[in-house]
Every structure is written in structure tokens, then in C-alpha cells.
């Protein structure tokens, strides 16, 4: 989803940043996963921007989506492309690095520096492949909590995430209520609809029927590039919308004036999807795609924390919330955010919700948007001063 990455025209940036690593859960103290399996050692790739204040109460954790990484903002030395949320994170921006200590770590199961199926299994000396245990959103959050402990942070000012990152932010607020002052949930849901699971399954099948996939053992040979590219193409359809595709491509042809009357690329939308698919293969691991989409499909807040009731699940939370949905998002439509709002209301939680009118489908949360930046900025500024929040501070253990 990094196709929107661009330098900020205002030139405000956190500047040169560095990817760091934190390793924990060394055997025999492996992390016990939701499935019961044990995983360790675990390495998390992470980045931080801004500085932690003396009270260590200005930390904002950003959770990335399916194909994201720890590189939220700024530039790696010698590179001209900034992190994936450069428009939101930086000095004076929506998430202001002059005020907040911003942290983002790559999720476990991914392939951008954290432990995942492409990592070396220390027991065998070879990549895990499918012997990597299935991880959940809860497991990703548990691992992040270990990093937050390591950084000496007791309580987060905010956890912010969109899409699958939003699921993590939500999970943080319920799993660690005493550690989360507020959560920003963008274009997300407390559980996947059948539609979302269906798209993910088609994408996974595309990978698994690629002969190169070879039951996940492909690290020493040809990658299942065709399957992964098709998986990404399906994903991109779900990230856009009917309207955004009409505006962006319509029925325009690619580099030709008439149909080829062959099965070449004719339409611009085809060319776009091919390009996105190819680009993705270069930077992402097919097995990681399987694991992360599975984690997202499994996630069900009601089942996990509320015995089937979202009202009960949210009764555990003490956080203030900002929820934002986008009108043209058909992957996580507005009704799913409103379902969360409903359950939060029944618990008397401190909530804000806005549906932003936007054409760009699910991807809208990644696109520079002043309305979104202003709202997040205003929300984050007010949290510690809110009387209800101060009461919670006193009453929390």
C-alpha cells in the first residue's frame, strides 16, 4: 500500500532515520502464542522518531497494515523515498514528532526485519517456511508490548493504526487497558466480514497454486512470484472503489488506440494491477502474506474478549477513541466502525467518530488528507487533559 508514499511538499520531515532491532523470548522463555505454540527468539524491527519525555508519557505507537513496515516516516540514508506515512508523521504534522515519541515496529509474521516465515529457524538453520507457527493479531500486539517494555514505557499516550494496524490498536486497548490512554482506529473493523475473508482466501489460493510455492519451501529457489502478484492484484481491487477506479482509469487503454484482440494488456487498469503485482513480488514474502492475512481473518474481538458480545469486550477498555471510516471503503465499510461505536457507547466510553467523504476506497487512510491530520492532531492534544481520562489514571492499577 506504499504507492502513495511521497515527499511532503512542506519539506517537514523527521529526516534521516534508522531501523533498529530488538530480540527477546530467547529459549527457554519463548513467547506462548494464542494457538498454544511457542516462538522464540523473536526479533522486532522498529523505528522511533522524536524523544521520550522525562515522565515517559508521550509515546505514540503506530501499527502498520498488511504490507507495511516499521519505516513510517523520514528517509534511510541515501534514499529519496520516505516512509509510508510521511504525510501524517513528522514535525508539526498530524502526529507531531516535536511533541510525541513515535514508535513503529514491523509485526511478527512479516518479512520486513521482524521474525516471520522467511526468518531462519535457529533449530534447523533453514528458513521456517510453513513450520512457522500461525500468529494472531493478539500475538503481534503481545510482541509489541515486549518492545514497549524494553523502551521503558509504562503507558502509551496513543496507539494508532489503519486497516490491520487498526485491529492491533483496538486489541491493544482491550488487552492492555491500563497501558493505553487512547486509540485511533482508521478504516478498520473488530472482525472481518465474509467478503473480506473471501478476498483473502482467493489471494492465498493464488499463492498456493503457484508451482514455485512448494508448500512454502521456496527460499533456496524460484519464488512463487506469479501467485503473489495475483494475490496483490486482488488486494488492490479491494483497496480501491468503483468510483476511484472509474476516475483513475475508466476504460482507457494502455499505450494503444484500439483493442489488441489478444490477451495482452489492453486497459490501463490491467496495466496498473500488473505493475502493483510485480512491484510487490520484489519486496514482499509470499508466506508472510499467507500468515498475515490469516491473522486478520481470525481476528474477532467479540469472540476473543467478550464471549460473543462486543459490548462485553469493550467493557474492559479505559481508552478514549477516535474512529474514522471512509465513505467508499468497501473492505471495511462504515457500518463496521459504527458497530464498534455502538458497543463503546453502551460502555460509556469517551469516543469520537467521523466518516470522511472520500473516493479512494480503503486506501483513503494512507492518502494525504488535511481533514484526517487535523482531527488526529486535535484528538491527541486533548487526551491527557480530559477530566474523565485523569479519573481513569487515578483508578487504574
Amino acid at each position: 500500500m506504499s504507492e502513495y508514499t511521497q515527499s511532503d511538499p512542506t519539506q517537514r520531515t523527521v529526516g534521516i532515520v534508522e531501523k533498529r532491532f530488538f530480540t527477546f523470548a530467547h529459549p527457554p522463555n519463548e513467547m506462548v502464542l494464542e494457538s498454544g505454540a511457542r516462538l522464540g527468539p523473536i526479533t522486532l524491527a522498529y523505528e522511533t522518531y522524536g524523544s521520550l519525555n522525562a515522565d515517559a508519557d508521550n509515546a505514540v505507537l503506530i501499527c502498520h497494515a498488511l504490507s507495511g513496515d516499521s519505516h513510517v516516516a523520514g528517509y534511510y540514508p541515501g534514499q529519496s523515498i520516505p516512509g509510508w506515512w510521511e504525510s501524517m508523521v513528522g514535525p508539526g504534522k498530524g502526529i507531531d514528532t516535536d511533541r510525541y515519541f513515535v514508535i513503529c515496529s514491523n509485526i511478527i509474521g512479516s518479512c520486513m526485519g521482524s521474525t516471520g516465515p522467511s526468518s531462519i529457524d535457529p533449530q534447523t538453520g533453514a528458513p521456517y517456511g510453513l513450520s512457522f507457527p500461525v500468529v494472531t493479531i493478539g500475538d503481534m500486539v503481545c510482541a509489541q508490548a515486549a518492545l514497549i517494555d524494553h523502551l521503558g514505557i509504562e503507558r502509551l499516550h496513543a496507539v494508532v493504526g489503519g486497516s490491520i494496524g487498526g485491529m492491533q490498536a483496538l486489541e491493544w486497548s482491550i488487552r492492555y487497558p491500563e497501558r493505553v490512554a487512547s486509540a485511533v482506529l482508521l478504516a478498520t473493523t473488530m472482525r472481518h466480514s465474509a467478503l473480506a475473508i473471501a478476498f483473502n482466501e482467493v489471494a492465498r489460493q493464488a499463492i498456493m497454486i503457484d508451482p514455485n510455492w512448494n508448500e512454502g519451501r521456496y527460499y533456496s529457489g524460484q519464488k512463487p512470484g506469479l501467485g503473489l502478484a495475483v494475490a496483490r492484484m486482488i488486494g488492490h481491487i479491494t483497496y480501491l472503489s468503483d468510483r476511484s477506479m472509474r476516475l483513475k482509469f475508466g476504460r482507457r487503454l494502455q499505450d494503444k488506440n484500439d483493442f489488441s484482440f489478444q490477451f495482452d494488456t489492453d486497459f490501463q487498469v490491467e496495466s496498473y494491477l500488473h505493475h502493483q503485482g510485480r512491484k510487490f513480488v520484489d519486496r514482499f514474502d509470499a508466506n508472510s502474506f499467507l500468515y498475515i492475512t490469516k491473522a486478520a481473518d481470525y481476528y474477532d474481538l467479540e469472540k476473543l474478549h467478550g464471549d460473543g458480545s462486543s459490548v462485553k469486550a469493550f467493557s474492559k477498555s479505559r481508552a478514549a477513541y477516535l474512529l474514522v471510516s471512509f465513505s467508499s471503503d468497501w473492505l471495511y465499510p462504515t457500518y463496521q466502525s459504527k458497530d464498534m461505536v455502538k458497543a463503546m457507547k453502551k460502555n460509556g466510553l469517551n469516543i469520537r467518530f467521523c466518516e470522511i467523504e472520500a473516493d479512494w476506497g480503503h486506501d483513503a487512510f494512507l492518502i494525504p488528507n488535511d481533514r484526517l491530520s487535523c482531527m488526529i492532531r486535535g484528538f491527541l492534544e486533548r487526551i491527557p487533559n480530559h477530566p474523565e481520562q485523569e479519573d481513569d489514571d487515578i483508578s487504574s492499577p
Binding site: K346, R352, M375
Partner: protein, 212 residues
Amino acid sequence: MTTSLRHDLQIIASWITPGSRVLDLGCGEADLLHYLIRHKQVQGSGIERDESKVIAGIQKGVPILQGDLNQEIVDYPDNSFDFVILSQTLQQVYDPATLIQSMLRIAEKGIVSFPNFSHWRIRLQLLLSGYAPVTRQLPYQWYDTPNIRVITILDFRKFIRNAGLRMLQEVAIDTQDENRFGKVVTFLPNLRATYGIFLIGRGKGSDREKSV
């Protein structure tokens, strides 16, 4: 801040107990809630339909939910608030009886204000010109108005009485919509006031009931 609050909102604010829980239905950019949170330490939240107003309110730090107030009010448990405010919105509500009952289900007290349709200028306009009245309080033509109800101070008093609810306070004011100043009208309010503001409560003996 005090002086920038509209006159009718100043009166509403004066009725709110410090530290209470307040819901503002159709809160706009949350001017009133922002004032109440700062100056009366209330736990305030609002409901507003318009995206840009919601964003402006959230930017101020006020908890606002975007949505239709008739639907949003349904989800709140009984007695979630001490006060529910419906400021200058009643005339746009399709089913006012249900809404007011919901208000007094989720809060013990409701505050309702609306432009008074029996003001002498409105009466005179209709009488003399024969056209549907257009005033500064109700500045719309019949074909583009969001206001679907015609309410007078007398009508509202009667409505509250018939619904078995209690009128706890009532103020009629003569002010322009955007004005910070205005005056309270005590003599012939139904004829002379541009707005009526009412504090209403549950009917006698209904306080412990879940609905009124």
C-alpha cells in the same frame, strides 16, 4: 470564551450543573460543549451529521459522533447523561415525540430550544404579504428549508403537558441568531420572543421508570 457564546447558548449553559454528563444533539462545531467542558468541567459529548462540523469539533478536543441524532440516541443506555440538549433542531425533527421521550430516557433532564413561529413579525408577514414567512431566525424559502415543523411557545407547552412531562424552566428571548446579546422576554412571550428555551424533566412518579 464566555463572550463568544451565542446568547441562547449562554442561557442553556447557565442551567447545566458543573461536572454533569451532557449530550448535545446536533452540536454543530461543538461551541457549547467546548464551553461547558472548559468552564463547567462537564463530561460532554455531541452528535452531529455534517462531516466538516464534526471534524471542527473533534479538532477542539470534544468527543463527537457523526450520525443522525434520531438513530444515535437509541444506543445509549438509560440514564447515561444528566442533561440532553436539543438546541434549535426540534423544528427539523421528523418524529419529535419519540425523540423527546428518548432524551428523557437517557437523561433525567432535557433542554430544548427552537425559533418561535408565533413571533409578531412572522404573524404580520403572513397576514400582510400572504407569502410563507422568511425571517432572520427562519431564513429559508418553503422549498429549501430544513425546517419541517412549525412550533410556537404555546404549542410546546401544550405538548409537554399532554405528554405527561414536566416543564422545569422556561425562558423566552428576543435575539438574532448569531447574536451574543439578547434580552429575556417576560411580557407576552409567545408574541414577542424569537426563541423559546425549555428545561424539561420526566413526569411525576416516572423518575425510576426506564422510559417516560
